[in-house]
Symmetry: C2
Subunit: 335 residues, 2 copies
C-alpha cells in the first residue's frame, strides 16, 4: 500500500477514512468537534441552526428506489435530522461530464425536486460546472443543508449514556445492495434502496422521548457496524448488540451471500440508529413502528460502561464477537 | 451541435449556461429569483442570512496566486459579500480521484485553511469522497457559505438605478489568464491570479455609501462583459461603459493578444462591479482606492434608461459597440 497516494478506501467511511480525517481534514476545520457529527451547530441571534454538506458520486446515477438527485436530498436532510434539526434549505452544486444526456440530467433534477418537496425543504441556491469528457463520471452532486433546532436538547454522536437502549429503525444494507446490483447488472428481485428523508420519523421520536432521546445517527457508508463503532468511540462507552435483533430482507441477505459481503457493513440511506434512555425505549419504539419508515424498528442492543469505544455482538449461536470498523472499501461509490 | 447532450459551454457562465439554467436548473429551485443572484436570502428569527454554493473544478489545481483550496474559499465568501453579507461559516466537500498525491492534497487543504483564516470565516463541516482513477480529475471542491446581513439594505443583481455610476475595483481577467498560462505551460512573466476575499472591501463601501450602494457582483465566469450583461438584464436598464476606463495589466493584455482572447470575457476572482448613486460615487471610489483590493478601482460607466438589458461600450477610438454575453466557452475550467 502506497502511503503517498489517496486510495479508494479513504472514501469508504471506514478506518482509512478516519485516518485521513485525523491527518489531513480535521486540521482544516475550525471547530474540530464538528467533523465528529453529521452537521455543525451554528448560533445566530436567538436561533440554533445545523449546517451540513455531502458530495454524492453514486454509480450508477439511477438505481432501484432513487437517483443521485433524490439521494443528494435525502442524505443531506438526514444529516440535519440526526442533529435533531428540522431541515429547511438546501443548496445544490452540479459537476457534469461533457456529453451527459440532457434527458438524464432532466430526470435526475426532477427526482431531486420531488425529493425536496417530499422532505419539506427548499432548494434555494445552486451552481453548475461542466468538465471535459473523461474528467468526471456523468454527474456528481454536492448538496449542503441548513436546518433549525427548535428544542433545547443536545442530540449528537457522543450522547449515549450507560443503560441506553440502541434502536435501529429497520432493515440493514438496502441502499448499498440495490446500488451494487444495479451497477453490476445483477437480478434485482425486489431489491430497492431505502433512500428516504428521516425528519418526520425523528420529529415523532422527539415528541415521544424528549430528553430521553440521547443520540441519533444514520448508518450510511460503512453500514451499521462502522457507525456503531464511531458512536461507541464518541460516547466513550461499550455497545452490545444482538445479532438476532437485526433485520435483513431476504433479497439483501441473498445477494450479500452470493457476493460474500456482510450486511452489517452495507449502507442504508433511510434508516437511523438511536440511543434512548431505558424507561422511554419501549414507548419510542412503539411510536416508531407506527411511522412508515419505522415499521421494522427494533431494540438491537444496549449501552454499557466498560471498554470505551468497543462494540460487541451476541451472535445467534450464542457467542460474543467484537465488531470492528470497515477496514478498506467493500462497496465504492454507493453514495 | 447536439442539443441532446451537455456541452462544455453549458458551464461557461455565458449564453449556453443561461439557457441550461432556464430550461433545467431553475425549475428545480424552489425560489426562482435565487439563481439570479450570487446567494439566497434566508430569514431566521430576527436574522437575515445569505446562503450560497459553488463547485470548483479548476485545472490545474495549483496556479500562480492560489490553489483550488483558496479559490474555493474566496469564490464562495465573495458570493456572500456580493449580497452585502458578512461571511461567517463554510462547508467543504471534496471529491478526490484515487491516486491523488497525498502531499498535493495536504498543500491544497493548508491553502484552503489559510484562505479561510484570512477571510475571517470558519470551516465548520465537510465531506470526502474518493472515486476510482479516471472518474474525476485529481480534486474537485464544493464549498457552501453562510453569512449574516447586518444592515437593512437590499443589495442584489437587479438593484441598478438610472444615473448610477458603474465602478470596477481593478484590472480585468487576471485569474483566468493566470490559470490558462499555468495549464498550458506558457511563460508567466508576472501573471498572477487576483483570487482574494472581497468582504473587507465591501464593508468599506457599505460604510461610505449606505443606501447609495445599489448593486454588487463579482465578474467571474464570462468576465466583466458577461456579468454586465446579466446585471443590465436583471435591472432592466441600459449600461454604458468606457473602454478607456478599463484597466488591464500588460501581462494579461499580452497573453490575451497572443491567444486571441478578449480580456473583457476573462474571469476575475478578486474584483467587483458596483452600481452607486451618482452623488456618492466619487467618495466610494476614493475609499475603495485606499483599500489594497481597490487601488486600481475606477468608474467605468453609467446606468441609463433606454433599451433594457443592453450593454454598450464607447471604444477608445470613439465608436460605440454592443457588448454581448460569452457565446460558447473560451476558457473552460478556470474555477
Amino acid at each position: 500500500m502506497n502511503d503517498d497516494l489517496i486510495l479508494l478506501g479513504h472514501g469508504s467511511g471506514g478506518a482509512l477514512s478516519h485516518r485521513l480525517l485525523d491527518d489531513l481534514i480535521l486540521p482544516v476545520l475550525s471547530d474540530r468537534s464538528a467533523e465528529q457529527n453529521d452537521a455543525a451547530l451554528l448560533t445566530i441571534g436567538q436561533s440554533r441552526l445545523a449546517f451540513t454538506t455531502d458530495g454524492y458520486v453514486v454509480d450508477p446515477p439511477l438505481f432501484p428506489g432513487g437517483t443521485i438527485g433524490s439521494l443528494a436530498v435525502h442524505g443531506t436532510v438526514n444529516d440535519l435530522a440526526m442533529m435533531g434539526a428540522r431541515p429547511l434549505w438546501l443548496s445544490c452544486a452540479l459537476i457534469i461530464e461533457e456529453g451527459l444526456e440532457r434527458q438524464l440530467l432532466a430526470d435526475i433534477l426532477a427526482d431531486l425536486r420531488r425529493a425536496a418537496d417530499g422532505a419539506g425543504v427548499r432548494v434555494v441556491t445552486g451552481d453548475t460546472k461542466v468538465v471535459p469528457r473523461g474528467k468526471a463520471d456523468r454527474i456528481f452532486i454536492t448538496t449542503s443543508g441548513v436546518g433549525v433546532i427548535e428544542h433545547s436538547l443536545a442530540i449528537h454522536g457522543g450522547g449515549a449514556r450507560p443503560g441506553d437502549r440502541i434502536i435501529l429503525s429497520g432493515t440493514l444494507g438496502d441502499h448499498g445492495m440495490a446500488v451494487m446490483a444495479a451497477r453490476e447488472g445483477l437480478p434485482l428481485d425486489g431489491l430497492r434502496s431505502d433512500s428516504a428523508p428521516l425528519w418526520s420519523l425523528v420529529r415523532e421520536m422527539l415528541a415521544e422521548a424528549g430528553e430521553a432521546l440521547h443520540l441519533l445517527r444514520d448508518p450510511t457508508r460503512g453500514g451499521v457496524a462502522t457507525t456503531l463503532k464511531e458512536l461507541a468511540r464518541q460516547s466513550g462507552l461499550l455497545f452490545t448488540i444482538d445479532e438476532a435483533a437485526l433485520a435483513v430482507t431476504p433479497q439483501v441477505r441473498g445477494l450479500c451471500g452470493i457476493l460474500g459481503l456482510d450486511p452489517l457493513y452495507v449502507a442504508n440511506e433511510g434508516k437511523l440508529l438511536a440511543c434512548v434512555a431505558p424507561e422511554a425505549a419501549e414507548a419510542v419504539l412503539a411510536r416508531m413502528k407506527r411511522h412508515p419508515l419505522g415499521e421494522r424498528a427494533a431494540i438491537i442492543g444496549t449501552v454499557d460502561e466498560g471498554e470505551a469505544g468497543r462494540v460487541r455482538m451476541r451472535t445467534v449461536v450464542g457467542g460474543m464477537r467484537m465488531v470492528e470498523m470497515l477496514a478498506g472499501e467493500q462497496l465504492p461509490r454507493i453514495c
